[in-house]
Symmetry: C2
């Protein structure tokens, strides 16, 4: 199993949604869906990442790896998000070298969570 | 394996640390360590949860369950954090009924991440 990139579909980024417009999360989903998914990355829509005031939020997770959540993403960030997800998917532990992270990932981390299992336990 | 409660030890909560004082994360760790760990909860110190401006941060994770990150925690919240972790550990999917969540968990969620594996895949 490769990396999973979760996109919060319902995210309003803490703002009212103007009539006739989609919430920021759905706009981001549309933009990401329009691009090819990188190798080893599964893009998944989710209903809520509970980062409602700092969205649109995306989360990366992978077996045995640190998980990451990024916030304040917009549709314009779609290509950068996928590039960051691709770099993440190439690791085994989720730790991408700083200079290889998209700037939005360097600056807009909401949180990260350690891998659930120790490598020794997980094998 | 039960639930894991990760405490960010280095968290300065976005503030300078006065000389002679411990960072907020270390204060929180001290307060939590002074209390008994709830059944099914392993308390783990981590170096950084990358929520530096919204710390002190704690994260809950468990196999097959949603992971949660909470922020703006202080040493005064230690008992509530452990109560919330205990309720989380009693679930299989990480989803605690709203009214059973400590108020700090209701109001200070930074993000959540879906379980890595689908139940069918995980078995």
């Amino acid at each position: 199993m490769g990396a999973r990139l979760h996109i919060c579909m319902t995210c309003k980024a803490g703002l009212p949604v103007p009539e006739g417009e989609k919430p920021m999360g759905a706009q981001l989903w549309d933009a990401i869906s329009a691009l090819p998914a990188p190798e080893g990355v599964e893009v998944i829509a989710v209903d809520c990442l509970s980062a409602c005031n700092t969205g649109a939020a995306v989360a990366l997770s992978m077996k045995g790896a640190w998980s990451y959540v990024y916030g304040r993403m917009t549709a314009e960030n779609a290509a950068d998000i996928l590039a960051g997800a691709e770099a993440y998917a190439r690791t085994t532990d989720g730790l991408v070298a700083w200079r290889e992270r998209p700037v939005i990932f360097r600056k807009q981390s909401l949180a990260r969570i350690p891998p659930l299992l120790d490598p020794a336990v997980e094998a």
